[in-house]
């Protein structure tokens, strides 16, 4: 009887020793076959038990059962251990190569700009690209043969005559003020077209953002607030503004708007030509002529208007040095768009 118990003890000892050496599931399965499989010593132990008397059978049987349970237990323990170790993962794995669809920088930036102005109470209006000579020029205090018209070289329609591709979003000032009576403030974003040679800074089409505010009070200090908030929010940093006197036939007084260089923070760089300033917008108080054209009493109402170029802002923000890259339909341009 003792010898059987000793035999079982030895088997277990050996099995335990071996299982601790095992490094993979395949070896573990071999181990299992060896000690718990059909041909194993334990599997055929009933034959041995049969030949023992009742007392011994009971004792040895109990020991056999314990041994079997212990073997199964270490098998499962080892299996669990090995299974866990089996999943190896390098967290520098690149993941799957997926293509991320994108919108153009123009779309995503225009969205942001619209939101900024919307938050400041502006209505956002879409206006036609093809307009009359009256809307683009005459209504803005630029009669025929006015040299100021040369600031906006024009692509004219063959038919109908005296129609053109708007050269600036200001073409919608008078229609806007006729449609939305003051007090009103609004933004008109969209494409404009110029009869102009193309280079790294100029293209024959580009986006402008026109702003108009007319009320009994709208003035330069309000304009300054709007500009400061807009540029701070758009560039996501503190921007300093500089106004300079300027001239537009449809504003009086007129100003040019410079912002502190967003690239060098006024330490001086090639983009700001070491001046620390970047010219980004034109603005002014709406000329009484324009208000009159819109049927507004210029003694009662007053207001400001401004215009800025979307591409210029995008190029500064993302540091793109050629407008033709922004206007190429190459999808690589989109990649930084969110």
């Amino acid at each position: 009887m003792e010898k059987y118990i000793e035999k079982l003890e030895n088997i277990f000892k050996q099995a335990k020793q071996e299982i601790e050496e095992i490094k993979n599931l395949k070896e573990l399965e071999e181990w299992k076959i060896k000690y718990l499989g059909r041909k194993s010593y334990l599997a055929n132990f009933s034959e041995i038990l049969k030949n023992l008397d009742l007392e011994e059978r009971k004792k040895v049987g109990e020991f056999y059962n314990q041994t079997k349970e212990k073997l199964e237990k270490i098998y499962h323990q080892q299996k669990e251990k090995l299974s866990e170790e089996e999943i190896e993962f390098d967290f520098y794995h690149p993941g799957n190569q997926v293509y991320y669809p994108t919108l153009t920088l123009i779309s995503s930036n225009l969205k942001k700009i619209i939101e900024i102005f919307q938050n400041m109470g502006f209505i956002i209006i879409d206006a036609p690209l093809i307009v009359s000579e009256y809307e683009n020029f005459d209504s803005l205090n630029m009669p025929k043969f006015h040299p100021a018209r040369e600031m906006w070289d024009t692509i004219w329609l063959k038919e109908p005559r005296n129609y053109l591709l708007r050269t600036h979003t200001s073409a919608f000032q008078v229609p806007f003020l006729k449609k939305y009576k003051p007090p009103i403030r609004g933004i008109v974003p969209g494409k404009v077209f110029r009869f102009e040679a193309t280079d790294s800074r100029h293209d024959f089409e580009f986006y402008q953002i026109e702003g108009i505010s007319v009320s009994e009070n709208s003035n330069f200090s309000h304009l300054r607030y709007i500009f400061e908030e807009f540029f701070d929010n758009y560039f996501e940093k503190k921007i300093t503004l500089r106004f300079r006197p300027s001239y537009f036939p449809f504003t009086e007084p007129s100003i040019e708007v410079d912002i502190s260089c967003v690239l060098c923070n006024q330490r001086g760089c090639s983009v700001c030509k070491f001046s620390g300033w970047l010219e980004v917008a034109g603005a002014g108080m709406i000329h009484p002529f324009v208000l009159k054209e819109a049927g507004i009493d210029s003694k009662k109402f007053q207001g400001y208007a401004f215009g800025t170029g979307l591409e210029r802002l995008i190029m500064l923000k993302y540091q793109i040095n050629d407008i033709r890259l922004l206007h190429s339909s190459d999808l690589r341009t989109n990649e930084i768009s969110s």
Partner: protein
């Protein structure tokens, strides 16, 4: 305009720091820079008449630094003989509001001394001779162009100012020959054209070294006429540039006197008594200013003494004051100052345009965004979700693009064509976004196995002579398998329709199309809103595209009309759904839409929904197509049994086999 500062220094008694001056100018008047003795000033268009000259700019600088200028010396010794015995001038056109002149006899013209030669050359003129160079110098000094004629070459000593007839010929000083269009202003004698007024002289009365007697012309010509003539004949001169921007009559008169003085002083001659003086110089009218309004307009508060000081620097006379109202008189050379707001600008400049501090003005209405922006942006994000990328595109297309795609336009629709196109690549406004999208496809195809791109832009055309301008969406898939392309386009369309809650069915009408095959138009509520198809091979070659291209172009105006931003909730029911699939072959000629519709008319009990799962064309039966439908049964009252459903499904099967001679698979 570039100034040598030594030419400006003559008008100041004090020494100036030009670096500082350029900064003050930038802040308060014109963007300027100073380098190596040269002051570059970007004179604003409305200030060109008064400030684009030595005297004018000096005056502006003096105002900004609170100083005064030394005015140029004019001391003419007039002779006893009267001018009208030597020259008569007749003005026959309203396009010459002012015409002044002087006659000097017995001048000894010569080459210019070095200082003068250098001066005119550094402002871009060729040095010609003493008289001509002096006249250019005085133009720079006062900003008013002058023209000197050889008096002896003027026939009958009579000048006639008139408008040109169409077809008249003119040979300019530069020997170029011009055929006139009519309406140009001409300075003539009885026989010859002496000058194309305000632009360029002729050789006929040219001043040379032999010239003894001269007539000096100082004038103001109609800016619009000079502008037109200069553009149509393509001649731009210093004079034309200035006349276009308006010349101030007083300055013109001063320039005449100054030149007469300088000629007499430097090369002698007898200045005749009197002047040619045609035109009447109006006195400037007083402008009334409301100081309270000024503060409200500019967002500043200024005190009266400060304003008084600013006005005096600007040579603006304060003539009356009544509480908050003042009356001022502007100097005669500031023709840009016409109304109250113009004076505000002057005060703001001197006060400093950066002085009004930021103030928030509360809005008096709620904000909203034009539907087209929100709608368009939604579409863009939906397409992004489906793996499409947006590409930028120009709105203009070439003659070639137009030729390939003109069949898109209907009989009463004409393209928007340009009078002065940038080039033949940009001759028309897009009426379809497809050509420029194909160009983008060609550009991007190498880097993508399955390229999916779109554009959302405005298109335009004329319809019955009215301009139509609206947003289109065009999307394009570029890959090998044409069937897969078209299927994916349909998937995309379904997604968009679902997103905009458009439940109604689209009617497709297959058509022959010049650039696409297969090709169909899509209709919603009888309105065409969609074009869909595969681009023909020959066109793909033109646009240099490998593989196949499928496209879908949607008129967003029409789509927007039928879309809603939300829809009614539909409960899915208490009892389970039971489904049956049915596939059958049917003659190719049957319209699929009619088959779908026919199930609805069948009145099958508890049939909740019929879904078309697939259509394909079997190789074995070339005249057939295979349709697969899914039928969903559900009762609102109880759980249906298999038998109940099977009974109804049999009816459908029988109907299909009988009505369409279908072979059920």
């Amino acid at each position: 305009m570039k100034f040598r500062v030594r030419d400006l220094e003559n008008y100041f008694s004090q020494k100036l720091n030009w670096k500082e001056i350029s900064e003050i100018l930038t802040d308060k008047a014109f963007e300027s820079s100073y380098n190596n003795g040269v002051l570059e000033v970007d004179i604003l268009a409305n200030r060109y008449p008064d400030a684009s000259s030595f005297v004018g700019l000096a005056q502006e600088i003096a105002a900004l630094i609170e100083s005064k200028i030394k005015y140029p010396i004019i001391k003419i010794k007039e002779g006893k003989e009267k001018i009208n015995q030597f020259i008569k001038v007749k003005n026959k056109t309203a396009k010459t509001p002012f015409y002044f002149g002087r006659v000097i006899l017995g001048v000894k013209n010569d080459k210019s001394p070095t200082w003068l030669k250098e001066l005119v050359e550094s402002y871009g003129f060729n040095s010609v001779n003493f008289i001509v160079d002096l006249s250019n110098f005085v133009m720079l000094e006062f900003g008013a162009p002058l023209h000197v004629f050889d008096l002896d070459k003027i026939k009958n000593k009579e000048i006639i100012i008139r408008e040109a007839q169409k077809g008249e010929k003119f040979i300019a000083l530069n020997n170029n020959f011009y055929s006139l269009q009519g309406g140009e202003i001409l300075i003539t004698d009885n026989e010859k054209i002496l000058a194309l007024a305000g632009i360029i002289g002729s050789k006929e009365a040219e001043v040379d070294l032999n010239t003894k007697n001269i007539f000096i012309e100082a004038a103001v010509f109609d800016p619009a006429t000079i502008y037109k003539t200069s553009r149509s004949l393509k001649i731009t001169t210093e004079a034309s540039y200035r006349f276009e921007r308006m010349v101030i009559p007083q300055r013109s008169l001063q320039a005449l006197e100054r030149l007469s003085f300088l000629i007499q002083k430097n090369i002698g001659g007898k200045v005749l008594k009197g002047r040619v003086f045609l035109g009447k110089i109006d006195k400037t009218k007083p402008i009334e200013i409301d100081l309270k309004r000024l503060e409200k307009f500019l967002g500043i508060s200024v005190n009266f003494n400060q304003i008084k000081k600013f006005l005096s620097f600007l040579r603006i006379k304060l003539i009356k004051r009544k509480k908050d109202r003042i009356q001022v008189l502007v100097p005669e050379d500031r023709i840009d100052l016409k109304n109250e707001e113009d004076i505000y600008e002057e005060i703001l400049r001197l006060y400093g345009v950066n002085n009004p501090k930021r103030v928030f003005e509360p809005p008096s209405h709620s904000s909203y965004v034009d539907e087209s922006f929100t709608f368009n942006y939604k579409i863009k994000t939906y397409l992004k979700e489906l793996g499409f990328s947006e590409v930028y595109g120009y709105n203009l297309i070439s003659i070639k693009d137009y030729e390939f795609f003109k069949s898109i336009l209907e009989e009463n629709q004409k393209p928007i064509e340009f009078l002065n196109p940038l080039s033949e690549n940009y001759t028309y406004f897009e009426f379809t976004l497809l050509p420029n999208l194909l160009k983008s496809c060609s550009l991007n195809q190498k880097r993508f196995k399955d390229l999916k791109i779109f554009r959302l832009e405005k298109v335009a055309y004329r319809e019955n002579n009215e301009i139509k301008e609206f947003y289109n969406l065009c999307l394009l898939i570029n890959k090998k398998e044409p069937f897969e392309i078209l299927k994916e386009l349909k998937t995309t369309l379904n997604y968009l329709l679902a997103k905009f809650n458009i439940n109604s069915d689209i009617i497709f009408e297959s058509k022959n199309c010049e650039f696409s095959d297969p090709f169909a138009l899509g209709f919603l509520f009888d309105k065409e809103f969609l074009k869909i198809g595969l681009i023909k091979r020959k066109l793909l070659e033109v646009y240099d595209i490998d593989y196949n291209v499928g496209f879908m172009e949607i008129n967003l105006n029409e789509l927007k009309k039928v879309s809603t931003s939300y829809k009614r909730f539909e409960y899915w029911g208490d009892y389970p759904e039971i489904t049956r699939d049915l596939s059958f072959y049917i003659s190719k000629n049957y319209n699929t839409k009619k088959i779908i519709d026919s199930f609805e008319k069948l009145k099958i009990k508890n049939l909740k929904k019929t879904i078309l799962l697939d259509i394909y064309f079997p190789h074995d039966f070339p005249d057939k197509k295979s349709l697969t439908f899914k039928f969903i049964f559900q009762s609102p009252e109880k759980t249906l049994t298999e038998e109940e459903v099977e009974k109804e499904f049999q009816k459908i099967k029988e109907f299909v086999s009988k009505t369409f001679e279908a072979q059920i698979r």
